[in-house]
């Protein structure tokens, strides 16, 4: 895995997200009037380079899955741009999206949920080709066999049903479906958090192998920093709908700048009984994205909170390891 730094200008990013917002209307009262909005994603900027893995980390409810679903256009974002290979896909209609559907695919958290229990593995893997009208029946069945081989499942799985497989095997089926159309970008929405720890590394290694073989880019969403560190070139930390810090995987670990990142890093368990870490334990819960705090949205839980944090919202700095925090201004 090569780390491709942000600064390289010769390569254009495969995906660049600019000021993306996803505000869900909150329907209230008997007339279901829209009074307030759930600002699940509230102004997010990032780039993904070809062949790169961007890890997206945050607590549950911080909007990372919503962000993923905006990019795969399961949601229609409220505002902002999603540029895929230079073309903005944020406002495209279903039919206009079809060519991009082949390039942007998604792997879901729980394969039991994301595979239709009434379809055989063969039917599940054939569906991408049917939808995009690729090849005849014989070709499709041939491709299904190849896909099963690529993800390490026996060819006889074709006639089996998802419930006949173990969790890890099911996720392999989900991965096979995602790579069926030779996509360029795959959004992995916590693809291993529903799996046993022993299976997690197998799936992660499969994803890494596929990346080198097919030159894939990943947006890897997770809440587990250890998992993200294993697979990501760069990491973005998300808090309450915004990215608070980004940087190369290693440097985030060594020199976490944002107090939130620091507390996350300190929470990673170290497999050494003599290791005594200073754990920064955060108090309180994530504030509601319907009523975000004023100023920096982290100020209610920040151990280094200053007066300015309550007033103004910090912007992401423009240096090597961008961070959105008043401490570094």
């Amino acid at each position: 895995m090569s780390v491709i730094p942000l600064q390289v200008k010769s390569v254009d990013p495969i995906l660049s997200v600019r000021d993306l917002k996803m505000h869900f209307p909150v329907k209230e009262g008997i007339f279901m009037r829209t009074g307030r909005f759930n600002k699940a994603v509230d102004g997010v900027n990032f780039d993904i380079m070809p062949g790169e893995t961007l890890g997206l980390v945050g607590e549950s409810g911080c909007g990372k899955s919503t962000l993923g679903r905006c990019i795969s256009r399961l949601y229609q974002p409220t505002a902002g741009e999603i540029r895929f290979e230079g073309r903005d896909i944020a406002t495209l209609k279903r039919k206009e999206l079809m060519p991009f559907r082949r390039d942007i695919q998604m792997i879901f958290q729980d394969p039991m949920e994301s595979l239709n229990a009434r379809h055989t593995v063969g039917q599940i893997l054939e569906e991408p080709f049917q939808i995009h009208r690729i090849g005849d029946r014989a070709y499709r069945q041939q491709r299904v066999k190849e896909l099963l081989d690529v993800v390490g499942l026996p060819a006889r799985s074709v006639t089996r049903y998802p419930f006949e497989f173990s969790g890890g095997q099911r996720q392999r089926i989900g991965i096979a479906r995602a790579i069926a159309l030779n996509p360029k970008l795959i959004i992995c929405d916590e693809p291993v958090s529903a799996l046993d720890v022993s299976i997690q590394s197998q799936i992660l290694n499969l994803l890494i192998d596929l990346q080198t073989e097919y030159k894939l880019s990943y947006l890897f969403i997770a809440h587990d920093l250890a998992v993200v560190k294993h697979i990501s070139d760069r990491i973005a930390i998300m808090y309450l709908g915004r990215i608070v810090e980004t940087g190369a995987g290693e440097s985030i670990y060594r020199t976490a700048r944002h107090p939130y990142t620091q507390s996350l890093i300190s929470a990673i368990p170290v497999p050494d009984p003599h290791h005594h870490s200073h754990r920064q334990i955060l108090v309180g819960d994530v504030p509601s994205p319907i009523n975000p705090p004023s100023g920096c949205s982290f100020h209610t839980r920040c151990p280094k909170v200053m007066e300015v944090c309550r007033q103004t919202s910090p912007v992401l700095s423009q240096d090597q390891q961008p961070v959105a925090c008043h401490l570094y201004e």
């Binding site: 795969s72 559907r101 998604m106 879901f108 958290q109 949920e113 569906e127 939808i131 049903y161 159309l181």
Partner: protein, 357 residues
Amino acid sequence: MSLIKLNPQTAKKLRRFREIKRGYYSFLILVGFLLLSLMGEMLINNRALIVSYEGDLYFPTYSAFHPGTDFGLDYPYETNYRDLQRHFEETGSDNWVLMPLIPYSPFENDASSGIFRPEAPNAERQHYLGTDTTSRDILARLFYGTRIALIFSIGFMAAVYLIGVAVGCAMGYLGGMFDILSQRLIEIWSNIPFLYMVIIVFSVIPDGFTIFARILILLSVMVLFSWTSMTYYMRTETYKEKSRDYVAAARVLGASNTRIVFRHILPNVLSTLVTFMPFTIVSAISAITALDFLGFGLPPPTPSLGELLKQGTQTLRTAPWIVMSAFGTLVVLLTLVTFVGEAIRESFDPKKFTLYK
């Protein structure tokens, strides 16, 4: 690959259904009765199965009508085959008549004494359950009444499911304003009193309508006021399935709405709806019987259980066999269908052991 390859989960449900003997045998009995009743004219009818006359064979059951003169009788109206049989036997000729098991039609008044009155069961005259107040054979009327009730209920169920599933699925899938408006409309619609509507509709139907048309109108009115309850299940189930990740996965692949509804959502939803089917049939049979009992149901002289029950309650003292046989048939019929329903529900239950085992 075989023509129909069952999903192993469906196969498992079928296997469990077969294991529940009570429901499985009830199902076999009902299906057997239904198939038998489709050729009921060969079992219970006043037209002969075979007439051999002067070396020629006649099959009057499903053929055009034969006037008495065809068989050397002296009347030009339809042959009375029971009399013909007696006539051939008395004259000792080579001609013969093979009558069905019960040689009476449900519409035929067989007044032995010339007066229309209920007659007690009489094996010799082959009125095994007696006759009703207008001297019609009760067994024949029960048989055809049950057949009509069953076919009517199956048609009712099919129509209710078709409308209910379509509307409910659309509500759940489209959601939003369409869902809210449809819900309110359905609430208003389902508050229209059904019985009054039946009375009103039948009071404005012109006399010229055939019995078949009247039955169809009754069916439509019943369906029109019953499909709403189906939408509640469909709507919530569709909402539930729609938000699951396999639908999201299909959408990320670019699947169209039609594809998502017909290939993904419906197959997952319908399996739960199957469990309601027998109970829909039970309620339809009860409803049609109740309407017949009140006199607003199937138009006379259509044989029906409710009509027999009504006669039976009026002649409870003088002819108890009427109410007994009608009541007995109704109880057996509803119990069988309920057993099937219980067994289906049980075999679809993800928890294997429940009280019904």
